[in-house]
Symmetry: C2
Subunit: 567 residues, 2 copies
């Protein structure tokens, strides 16, 4: 591809609206243009990248036995009434009325449509298992669309849906899709983790999110350095410490006139933060409760909500705290409360000795506190904290690290809810009607492009993984008008690389070298080859990989060898 025949439109300005680096770089590189809030046009450059993602997704879906189809973007209200989601889906559902005043929505997902399709197409267990997929536009009317295509309203998604007679077969397919997803992100050249996800709200039985790792990610992910274990930080289990050390200190009251936080108290006493305990006052279904987590840990409200006997809870008011503990916030603790209270101790707290808590007396804390001696052994011990880097992995292998991730895929065992709601059934081997159980499997195709940039960029622009680059290589032509040999050599190399299957562009736009190189770094082409008068004379090409610090002069054979053949 000669870039003079292409539409490349880079920009030096950093658009004011863009916060995320991927959003900035996609605008600067001219990959997308904003049409309206959350609506983006993919320019020719951007579309090249999007199509590469699409192609790899399709190839792996096909290889996994999924069958491609295409459902409309516009969906009738009646189907969403059947599933009960017309109202329940909420404000993200873009609704519209046609000229006959019938209601439709722009599909934010296609469970309803595929289940309707299945109830008409599937009649016998012999047709199961079956997996359908499509690559189709979706619309979700986000309250605050932002971050460019990372959180656009209209976006491109691959969504797959599987139908099975029983859970065991769904489990098997789930594994197949898990593997396919792993291959997709591996082939795209992205660092990622498959993360255990919470299925509580939607009610399925198993779920993994696939996250591209990047510092700007919205989600914190805990993953093991010794196994494939990964989970959202909020869901990762904090493993109980093996045992509690013996008490070695006496309990003593220490004056902490203005020290209300664990950090301040630890600093005053010259102790590790991990020796202190935070007391969080709550009111649950049966009244006042004090939740305890280590000073260096953070409370996990999702886990707390699951503690048996707590019920629905809220944080206690100052009056309630005063009534039950006899002290104001900042000096609370489990020792000698004003009234008898219930305690929920985090597993780590239950394993502590000689710890520091508030004294339930304004301006004082207690140090050297020990369970069983200074206060009763905790009755309720539970995992109520977020994991921290360095925690042991819950699967017993390795230590947890914490990284940030961008969710780009989600696989989910849906179960029978949609099939039941829409009356989708097949005849089983005994001729009896059976409701199939379903899996659903999504990939945010357009979001992957942004996520890849978040993970792969530097000060000069994007540094694409080879599989996603708009071109693998670019031949930059310097002053071709001055020396016809330069144009000839560039032409020949351009042809040769493309002939070898290395997708190569030729920058023949006639820019000065600095501007040309800046553009090629910005748009992130992995291999840059410069053809100049000097190089032609010397029989060499100047080569630089996008991630390399320096350019090198290589002869033709070495150059071709260096660029290699694409996978």
């Amino acid at each position: 591809m000669r870039l003079s025949q292409f539409h490349l439109h880079t920009s030096k300005e950093i658009p004011a609206e863009a916060e995320l680096v991927s959003h900035k770089l996609m605008l600067k590189a001219g990959m997308i243009r904003k049409l309206a809030s959350g609506l983006y046009t993919w320019t020719p450059l951007g579309l090249r990248v999007l199509r590469k993602v699409e192609r790899i997704v399709r190839e792996e879906m096909d290889a996994a036995g999924a069958i491609e189809m295409l459902m409309p973007t516009v969906q009738p209200r009646e189907l969403w009434e059947e599933s009960g989601r017309w109202e329940k889906f909420g404000g993200q559902l873009l609704k519209m009325q046609d000229r006959k005043e019938a209601w439709y929505c722009y599909g934010p997902t296609h469970e309803e449509v595929i289940t309707d399709f299945a109830r008409n197409e599937l009649a016998s267990y012999k047709q199961l298992p079956i997996v359908f997929y499509q690559v189709q536009a979706k619309f979700r009317d986000e309250i605050r669309p932002r971050f460019g295509v990372m959180r656009a309203r209209e976006f491109l998604m691959k969504d797959a849906y599987s139908f099975h007679l029983d859970e065991a077969d769904l489990d098997r397919q789930y594994g197949v899709m898990h593997d396919a997803y792993s291959r997709i992100f591996t082939r795209l050249g992205l660092r990622f983790r498959a993360v255990f996800a919470d299925t509580g709200a939607i009610g399925g039985s198993a779920s993994h999110e696939f996250h591209v790792l990047a510092d700007s990610g919205e989600d914190a992910i805990a993953f093991s350095d010794g196994s494939g274990y990964a989970a959202n930080v909020e869901l990762a289990e904090a493993v109980a410490p093996h045992s509690r050390p013996a008490a070695s200190e006496d309990m003593r009251e220490v004056e902490t006139p203005v020290q209300k936080t664990c950090e301040d108290v630890a600093a005053l006493l010259g102790l590790e933060l991990s020796r202190t305990v935070k007391s969080i006052a709550l009111v649950g279904a049966d009244g006042f409760v004090l939740a305890l987590v280590r000073g260096d840990h953070t409370l996990n409200e999702i886990k707390l909500a699951k503690v048996e006997g707590l019920g629905e809870y809220r944080f206690a008011t100052e009056a309630e705290i005063l009534e039950h503990l006899g002290s104001r916030p900042g000096f609370l603790g489990p020792v000698r409360p004003a009234k008898t209270i219930r305690i929920i101790a985090d597993r780590s707290v239950a394993a502590m000795a000689d710890f520091v808590v508030g004294a339930n007396r304004d301006g004082f804390h207690l140090a050297g506190v020990n369970w069983g001696r200074d206060l009763p052994e905790p009755v309720v011990v539970a995992d109520i904290r977020n994991v921290s880097a360095g925690d042991p992995s819950p699967d017993g292998s390795g230590t947890l690290a914490i990284a940030r991730g961008i969710e780009v895929g989600h696989i989910f065992q849906l179960g029978r809810q949609y099939a039941q709601a829409l009356g989708c059934s097949v005849l089983d081997a005994n001729g009896k009607a059976a409701t199939p159980t379903m899996g659903c499997y999504g990939i945010g195709v357009s979001r992957i492009v942004a996520a890849a940039i978040e993970q792969n960029h530097d000060d000069n622009g994007i540094a694409w993984p080879e599989a996603m680059a708009p071109w693998q290589a670019v031949v930059c032509v310097i002053n071709p008008k001055k020396d016809p040999g330069v144009a000839e050599a560039a032409d020949a190399l351009h042809r040769e690389l493309n002939g070898r299957g290395v997708e190569t562009a030729m920058d023949d736009r006639g820019l000065r070298p600095g501007a040309m190189f800046a553009d090629m770094e910005l748009i992130g082409i992995p291999h840059r080859i410069v053809v100049s008068e000097r190089g032609v004379a010397a029989g060499t090409f100047e080569y630089r990989h996008r991630r390399a610090a320096e350019a090198e002069n290589l002869d033709r054979a070495t150059l071709l060898d260096r660029i290699g053949t694409p996978a």
Copy 2:
């Protein structure tokens, strides 16, 4: 592709709602499923065909230098206000409000969005000419969606838009796109015509429609057997006859008591219908007018409306006819009217001698009528009739034939209206702002699939052109469980054909032969090969082309030769 691993779901029933044969066959073959009025899901089988069309369209667009991009389906009202089409587009525009109550539409076309894109992306004449295209869903809220994907509301379109500094360059590009479209339909294997189209209403300067020829087509097309000339029947020029024969009869009154039509009068008199003249009474801007066309011709109201001096017209009432001609309808004529009237004679009528007209006296006609002798020479002579089969082609080469066509493409010189309305300009070579002139070029990708079926089917189903078939060939396996040699031979042939680039399916669904063959004929696979115990024993395969009357037994080499290599 093993069909046991695919989702094929043919049906014997003819759906009641389907009128067109393509609609019936697409439903029977299981290519599409209706989701709601004008909304169709493309099944795996249908999508295979749709993708073939898409691929050929893309390849030819790329080859023509058009650059692919992707614009959102959802478009903001503000842009449509700028172009003036938010109201003007009418009821086909599906409008919707987002959660912030801002208005959007589902794009029925993308002139506004591409012109907005261009005004931001194009700054200099050096960037021109440029052609952008996309393959994207459109929505047109048809009053009466019907005929399946032939007239769906949500459909897939390839739309291209070009930008030029001047008309000459637009003309050049128009020619390039015309050629590309011709290559597309040729490669698809369809009989088609590029038809001159009327540009009046939209105001462009040149326009062609591409029609797939099929008896069920909505449009009648006149095309030359001696050149590439083709035009909508309503627009094709009826060429004037060379000269008028000399008068050879005297004018005489003939009694035609109940004969009110030219057909009846000609039959009574034993004359050719082409010897009679129809008189059509009109009231134009300046009063009563009699329009004359030959008895075997039909009036063309579009052409009539363009006759200078007529102005806006309507058909005359019986009272007006009686007042001006002195007779009731059925016996009207231009000779001896009750009052002085204006006459518009079709070119053919002006060249007639010895013709028959109404006598302006109830129950009588005049025969042997001649211009100049029996009535004054006509002052206004114009082309006001539809062309007929056998007319000379207006380009001077060959004779016109009439066929019906389905519009599947449209190319159009738009001019500057959108660029002007949206303020899109570039700097010209002199540094002055210049408004580019535009072309637009559409192809109804999903409609092509239906149109191809209208053109290529028989009583047993679809007979795909090779390029559009879901698979070029199918290997039908008969009783593989009975003889392992059959399964082996089928496997080997399936592999070999695919290896040779002949996209081949293997029907291993285990159906009985009759059902299997019926399915393969219904879905229209061009090459069918049957592998059976008897054939394996004899070392032959039973081969039948979809359009052949009989199957033949061929040895392997002959078979491979017959199927050939795909283009």
